[in-house]
Amino acid sequence: MPESAISESPTPNSVFDVAVVGAGVVGLSIAWRAALRGLRVAVVDPDPGRGATYASAGMLAPVSETTFTEEPLLRLGLASLARWPSFRTELEEASGRTLDYRTDGTLELAFDADDLAQLEDLAGFEETLGLRVERLTGRECRQREPMLSPSVRGGLLARDDAWVDPRLLAPALCAALARARATFVSEPAVKVQSGLVRLAAGAVPAEQIVVASGARSAALLPGLPVRPVKGQILRLHGPRGFLSACVRGWVHGVPVYLVPRENGEITLGATMEEQGFDPRVTAGGVYQLLRDARELVPGIAELELAETRAGFRPGTPDNLPLIGPTGLPGVYVATGHHRAGVLLSPVTADAIAAMLTGSAAPPLLAACDPSRFD
């Protein structure tokens, strides 16, 4: 984190145009886009970029993430993916940093014959939606990625999927915000009301407030239909170029992914668990991830297991985010991005920034109305 970006004044005297509560990738993106529109922005979070963002893999993969029943999420994801190239360019310019943004596509693999049948079923579904996927044989998969196991039966190539390193993205957003003279309040919010974000000691007054506290947003907006979906995720370190594409796979029906970075790190994830805010990394979780990943890429057994971690995706009943106004005048919410927070940040940030400056919610966001479950 850029320490220089964090102001140590928890109770600013002036009233901000906007206070964003929660400095994950969603909250930071909103704050940055709001600042670009000339708003005076405060960001309230004791530890920017260290929540679900820090755990996440940063896949920008609406195509390979698609499942049955989730077309609205796919459409939103595709719209946000289309914004990513310019979002990235603008952010790298504004922050003076690079993001390790990659566009080499996602290879989705099947390990056994049952997995292949499942992948084939999914490919047929994706084609009916007009998505571009290419079927590859096992040998073709291995020509693209020589580290893959000879057992891999086949795969799909989603050329349009991309990925980015969230651990570079969040600090870049902080740096851009610092340059835009945003204020960082390094304390947790304890309560949100119209015009005021209350801290343990003191408060941040703001004309408008955006709650973007991920899975913990319900603590600030009681009744908000968001719950933690625990994910355990690993970081391996190996030689650069060990993998060139983002590799996802099904191993005996269980999904796993490996996301390579420029610096040789490989992010390996992730479990999906309904365990409340249980922060523990478990033996079974790590075992499952390594077991399945090693089936696809046997050579990972030689890499350094550099980190294990659990994070909390903000889940909603329909897996779509909650983006828009709340029942409190001047208080907006942007959470519930579940598995797709990094992907959906540009579209979310632009939508909230538009609302903050008096525009209506874009039609694309109609499915994300926070009041849809009322």
């Binding site: 309904e274 889940g315 009943p317």
Partner: protein, 259 residues
Amino acid sequence: MDDVFVLGGEKFASRLIMGTGGAPSLEVLDQALAASGTELTTVAMRRLDPASQGSVLDVLRARDIRVLPNTAGCYTAGEAVLTARLAREALGTDWVKLEVIADERTLLPDPIETFDAAERLVADGFTVLPYIGDDPILARRLEQAGCAAVMPLGAPIGSGLGVRNPHNIELIVESAQVPVILDAGIGTASDAALAMELGCDAVLLATAVTRARRPELMAAAMRDAVGAGRRARLAGRIPRRRYAEASSPARDRSDPMGG
């Protein structure tokens, strides 16, 4: 028609028991459960924190669907007994779908561990519903041990292969004095109908619905299939014949509908 399904002393109008695994979202699951008409749904206790808000338990409560905790993910009798006790404490029910699997690849039930756990749970006052292979002798022994039902598989969990050994299911049904619930292997509606035609008292399924392209529609299909199979069983199927038999009246028979 008053055809009530009695399980563990409780009455149910629906003979379709649902599982929750594999649903893409809670909302999709909720819609599927509603379309299925189920009144009893099983939940894996090892994949759930009962105290957390907005979980699958809230979905079931809102629909007034009875929760049947299961011990999915247990490999030993010891784990299963412990999981059942935690479930009783957390959910306030002494019903348990006992599931002790033998290996990850097949997810087939381990008969010896299952029997061991069943004995201990019955002694501990549980209403025990054991998931087993399609073995008529094991089914009988579990019934004698005091289980409230037996739940033979049609095929391995999630396989969608249907009822692979209908003869064994018939044998289990013939001798059972407790309800027989066909559990696992259902792939589509005709599989569920067949299970009921064979004489099963109910069907338990999850993946066939939750992983369908349109889960809600498949849930409605399963509801109809279970009902159709049950009515066909009660109505009594005609004997199979090698050759045709004209359904229009023959001259040499008295026909009450004829003139």
